[in-house]
């Protein structure tokens, strides 16, 4: 069951990511990015990291992507991108996409052949136990420095955004 769900949502994830690149309209790309975020959250859930999964949905799908869509709606972007593709890019499409797939498959096959199968380093599906209390404990003990540095980084980003917005207003 876990295996099946993993393959299903993994396929959704990759499919959404490919669709994101293929789609010509910006809004469709944004929507496929939401699909990617959602299936990533479900993959986290399969690993047992329920808190991270839900936070992924709330923050990425619920907040950040809403702002993306907001910007697309406001700017009505994507209408200028409708021009004909050049000849070179068509050639690249015909040869590049199958080549990419073949390369990817060969790469995965080689990796699977040569990977040390039972080193016992990775988590098996459904094994990772990640309730909110564990995540909180780890954030405030083991990874405290990284956590605080990230918060300072976010603060700098917010201040930078404020400064940029101010300057454009004064001009």
């Amino acid at each position: 069951m876990h295996q099946f769900l993993f393959l299903l949502f993994g396929a959704f994830c990759v499919g959404g990511a490919l669709n994101l690149l293929i789609q010509k309209k910006t809004i469709n790309s944004a929507l496929s990015l939401i699909v990617v975020m959602g299936s990533l959250a479900l993959l986290y859930l399969l690993l047992g990291a329920e808190f991270v999964a839900v936070v992924q949905v709330i923050i990425y799908a619920g907040a950040i992507m809403v702002l993306y869509i907001f910007v697309i709606m406001l700017l009505n972007a994507g209408q200028e991108e409708q021009e004909e593709a050049a000849k070179g890019s068509n050639v690249a499409k015909i040869f590049g996409i199958p080549g990419l797939f073949a390369g990817g498959f060969i790469g995965i096959w080689v990796l699977l052949k040569h990977s040390p199968a039972d080193k016992g380093t990775g988590f098996r599906i459904g094994e990772l136990y990640g309730p909110a209390s564990d995540v909180g404990m780890m954030l405030f003990t083991k990874y405290l420095l990284a956590f605080e540095v990230t918060s300072i980084l976010v603060l700098i980003a917010i201040m930078g955004a404020v400064v940029l917005a101010r300057r454009s207003q004064n001009l």
Binding site: I27, L31, I34, E50, F51, V54, V55, V57, I58, A61, G62, A63, V66, L67, I69, F70, I72, M73, L74, P131, A132
Partner: protein
């Protein structure tokens, strides 16, 4: 419990809850028209059936039989996707809500909650991060409205959906923060765990978080919830004097009805979460003088009366208050509710730390 029994019980629970929810949604519309009618000194619906009770049925038939227009120049796929998205997101979150305690029927015991199960020790348990899932689904509900307005290719719809998404994203912050105090006090994210933390009495007063110092949080939650569900006094996304009908201007027949149902289902969900977080969910004073047959249903009666109270409050406020201006709405959300919610989190954390 075997896998097959689990599946059957789950399907029955989903069917019953969904049926009840949709009936409540239909009759909330009736109640709203009736109560607002009386508040404005008129009768409200009174023609279809006694007291107009069959009005929701008549409305439903009308929505089904009306012509389903799709205007030209809309983004067709997204235009068709949006109402479904809005309705699904509105209906899904009810799965997390603990409606009642464990019931025993035909030798099977299960809590009255779609995602709830009875664990090995005989206690009701549910998803560990239930409240976060509800918040996540609520935040996804914005897409239905945002995409509906954008894909309609109409100025009124676009303005309505821009207003709606800005408003919902802004008030979600205060909404989430107002719940943090309760989560700190109950030290769990599971909704049935939160209900269990509020069982019992203290000198006859129920141990609800509303009476244990979270009344500021309750006030913030209610304000933010009114904004989240686009209700008066925060119904700017569908302000009919300015925007015709806001984001669903271009929708007709059943697609319009789906937005309508989504709005009322969201109201019910918000009321459920409010009663679970602040009013003890299905818990309530025990009334020992009632006969045993009524006693068994007492938790459900308490829960539904709390929901009724909230729905009536919605209607009452709709009949009382005028609409905010948009800058007032944003200033109220960011400059008043948000700092107040942060202060509430700090004060609650302080008291929880002292007690611990």
């Amino acid at each position: 419990m075997s896998a097959l029994t689990f599946l059957i019980v789950a399907v029955i629970k989903i069917a019953v809850t969904l049926g009840v929810l949709l009936t409540v949604v239909a009759y909330t519309v009736w109640l709203e028209r009736k109560v607002v009618g009386r508040m404005q000194n008129r009768w409200g619906p009174s023609r279809v059936g006694p007291f107009g009770l069959l009005q929701p049925l008549a409305d439903g038939i009308k929505f089904l039989l009306k012509e389903d227009l799709t205007p030209p120049y809309v983004e067709k796929n997204i235009y068709l996707l949006a109402p479904g998205l809005a309705l699904i997101m509105a209906l899904t979150s009810i799965a997390m809500v603990p409606i009642g305690p464990i019931i025993h029927l035909f030798g099977i015991s299960t809590p009255v909650q779609i995602t709830g199960v009875v664990d090995a020790s005989g206690q009701a348990s549910d998803i560990n991060v239930g409240i976060l899932i509800v918040l996540g689904i609520t935040s996804l509900g914005v897409y239905g409205i945002a995409l509906a307005g954008w894909s309609s290719n109409s100025k009124y719809s676009l303005l309505g959906s821009l207003r709606a998404s800005a408003q919902m994203v802004s008030y979600e912050v205060s909404l989430g923060l107002s719940l943090v105090g309760v989560l700190l006090m109950s030290s769990t994210l599971s909704l049935s765990g939160i209900v269990h933390a509020q069982l019992g009495h203290w000198h006859g007063i129920p141990q609800w978080f509303l009476f244990r110092g979270q009344f500021v949080a309750f006030f913030i939650y209610m304000m933010a919830a009114f904004a989240e569900t686009n209700r008066i006094p925060f119904d700017l996304p569908e302000a009919e004097t300015e925007l015709v009908a806001g984001y669903h201007t271009e929708y007709s027949a059943m697609k319009f009805a789906m937005f309508f149902m989504a709005e009322y289902a969201n109201m019910v969900t918000v009321a459920c979460i409010a009663s679970v977080m602040f009013l003890g969910g299905w818990s309530g004073p025990s009334l020992p003088f009632l006969p045993a047959a009524v006693q068994a249903f007492l938790p459900l009666i308490w829960f539904s009366s709390k929901i009724f109270f909230f729905l009536f409050l919605y209607i009452w406020i709709r009949g009382t208050l005028p609409r905010f201006r948009y800058d007032q709405l944003m200033a109220f959300g960011w400059k008043f509710l948000f700092p107040l919610a942060l202060a509430n989190v700090v004060v609650t954390a302080f008291f929880v730390a002292i007690r611990a």
